[in-house]
Structures are given as structure tokens and as C-alpha cells.
């Protein structure tokens, strides 16, 4: 494996990692705005890294130039569609959620509702055993 191939592999893997992160964000984030944030930011960089890796592997300036134009077009389309979707979401009064996911999760863990449910379950099990 030559140096160019190694660098290209690293770029392709890094690009795929960004795509993976963006996709996880799309699935896991709570509202439209943060999902858009995850998708467009991570995928723009992911596409750029993948295009850079492929350009290195192609070894010709013509193909590298075409890949660069593809990246620019992807950036443009992602930016504008993100802007429009966010506008449409705001127009339908979908507001960004204020609190991040982590703080909500810890709130729930310490909330009395959850501990009482735990007590019920323990009581049922105890009843079955006696």
C-alpha cells in the first residue's frame, strides 16, 4: 500500500464516521431543528472527506475537479434545503426544544414517579414469592 492509498483510506473512513454520526443524530435527536443540525453539518464534512479520499485514489485532476464540484453542489443543496425545512418548521410553530436530552434523562431517573414504579414492581415480585 502506498502512502496515497493509506491517506485516502483514512479520509474515506473519517468521512464514513461523519455520515454515521449525522445519521445517528437524525434518528436520536429530539426535534426537527437539532436533527437538521446533525444531518447537514456532519454530512457536509463527511461528503467532503469522502470526495477528497476518492480524488486521491482517482489520481487525475479531471476527476478530482469533478468531485470538488460535486462537493460544492452538495454543500449548496444541503444549506438551502436545511434553511427551508427549518423555516417551514418554524412556520408551523415547531420550536426548538430548550433543554438538552441529558438533563431530561437525569431528571427522570431521580423523579419520584420512576422510583414508585420500581417499588411496585418489587412489591409484586415479593408477593409472588411469599
Amino acid at each position: 500500500m502506498s502512502v496515497v492509498q493509506i491517506v485516502a483510506s483514512v479520509l474515506l473512513c473519517a468521512g464514513s464516521a461523519f455520515y454515521l454520526a449525522g445519521t445517528i443524530g437524525l434518528i436520536r435527536f429530539p426535534d426537527a431543528h437539532s436533527r437538521l443540525h446533525a444531518l447537514t453539518k456532519a454530512d457536509n464534512l463527511g461528503l467532503g472527506l469522502v470526495c477528497a479520499g476518492l480524488a486521491l485514489l482517482a489520481g487525475s485532476f479531471r476527476v478530482a475537479g469533478a468531485l470538488f464540484v460535486i462537493w460544492l453542489l452538495g454543500l449548496l443543496a444541503a444549506t438551502v434545503s436545511c434553511h427551508l425545512i427549518a423555516r417551514a418548521a418554524l412556520g408551523r410553530s415547531i420550536r426548538p426544544k430548550r433543554r438538552p436530552v441529558e438533563s431530561r434523562a437525569t431528571d427522570h431517573a431521580g423523579s419520584p414517579a420512576l422510583t414508585s414504579r420500581g417499588d411496585d414492581a418489587a412489591g409484586l415480585r415479593g408477593g409472588g414469592g411469599s
Partner: protein, 311 residues
Amino acid sequence: MSLALDALLALALVLLALQVVTGRSLFRGIVMFVVFGVVMALVWARLGAPDLALAEAAIGAGMTGALLMLGYRRLAQHGPLRIRRRPSPGSRLAAPLGVLSMVLVAGLGASALQLPTGAGAAGRGVLQAMPELPIGNPVTAVLLVFRGYDTLLELVVLLVAMLGMRAVQGEAGPPRLRASVDARLPLVGALLSVVVPLAVLVSGYLLYAGGHAPGGAFQGAAVLAAAGVLLVLTGRLRGQAEPGWPERFGAVVGVVVFSVLGLVQHATGAGLLVMPGAWAIYLVETAMLVSIAVTLVLLFAASAGLRVGSR
């Protein structure tokens, strides 16, 4: 490794097809159909058919997806309640129809395996005849030289589809949808000013490339029509009931140029629809590109004519 990729693609295709027909809502079905088209284009590319991959991505996923979305918007506008429920009479037939389709696909696949691959096969005949032809792309040669009649009738089908739409919707046309996106937004204007000239350039290149590499009138027209769809969506182009001369000319120029050239060749004794040279092939392809693009944009605008939208 490549076998794993192919298996993944085939599995994804089957699962996406299932999602298209069994999805919980109509909207989900349409989105899955577009994704199905993109994966299908990847499959064509893996099978070494870049012409089909281009056509599938541009027409199958892009234009058809846009038309389906437009239909969904109209349905949602006219009866928001009707699109929520899935139609029950159709779904009872779904399982038997699916089984029948599977049998059909299996039968077609089995018979495709038994097709002759030797010297008598049509594909080999085309490749052997290629050196005598003025163009280098076998797909374009099949479309215009060996099976010109089929291609001409495909153009007629598109024209009839547009006339059928006119016949169904009447003189006035359907109630107009308001432009989905305001073209006065700075980002939208910037997108249009970059993407539309680029789409014209790319469609011209695809048309030129069709002579010697993957590309051609259908792919170029789909790219051009996509630019037209963007202009319609942003309100820069609006539908109107009465077509002007550019729309009338554009809709018929493909059929007219193709059939007049073919008839002239017939009259001079060369044979019906025989292409006299590379110039004739490029002429017919250009006329076809204009016709297909204009027809697709008119279908999307659901109107007979177009005018430049006012601010």
C-alpha cells in the same frame, strides 16, 4: 467484499419495495419510493449499466418522485382525511398480487437465463455493427439506429400522456397551488442562479456525451426538467391554461423532427427511420431533449402553458 455489497443492495431493494407498498402512510410510501429509485440506480451502476443508472436516478427517483409529491399535496389540499387511512379494498388484494408478481419475476428471471448468448444474440449483433456507425455509444445506437421505431413511439406516449392530462383536467385546469417556496428568500435566489444554468450546461453535456459515452436525450431532458421543476416550485414559472407557441413547439418538436426525417429517408429509398449520419442522430436527440423536458415540466405544472411568474 463486492458480493456482500451486492447482497446488501439486493436486500435493501426488497425491503424498500415492501416499505413502499405496506408503509403506514401515503407520504412514507412516496419517500420510500424515491429512496428505492436511488438504490435501484446504484444497482444499475453495479451491473455495469450507467445509462440506466442515470435514467433511473433522474427520471425514476427524481421526476417521478416530484410528481408523486405534487399529487400528495393536491390530495392533502382536497381531502386531508382521505389520505390518512389506507384504502381497504386494495389491501385485500395485496397478498395474492404480491405472490403473482413474485412468480412472474421468477419466471422472467428463469427465461432470461436461457436466452441465447452466442453469435445469434442481438447484443452481440449491435456490438459487431458498431464500427460501421458514426457514433460510439451502443445504447444510443440501439435507441436511434436499431430500434428507432420504439423510441419514436415512446415520444408519442409522452405526448399522449400530456394530452390525456389536458383532457382529464379540462380547459381551466386544476386549482392552482401556491408556490411552495418564496423565490425572494436570498438563499433560494442564490440556489436558482447557480443550479439552473448548471442544469442547462449538464443537460447539454449529457446530450453531447450520448454519442460516445453514457448519456443521451432522456437523461439530459430529465436534468433540464429538474431545473424547470425548481422554477415552478419557487414561482418563477407559473402554469397557465393557454399554451404559447414555445410550449406548443416544444411539446411536438421531437415527434415532428424524428418522423419527418424518417419519412424523408423512406422517400429517398434509404428505408424508414434510417439515420443518414451523426448529424441526424444529434438533431433528433436535441429535438427529443426539448420535447421530453417541456412535457415533463408541463406535467409537473399541471397546465398546458407556462409564463414567467410575477413577483
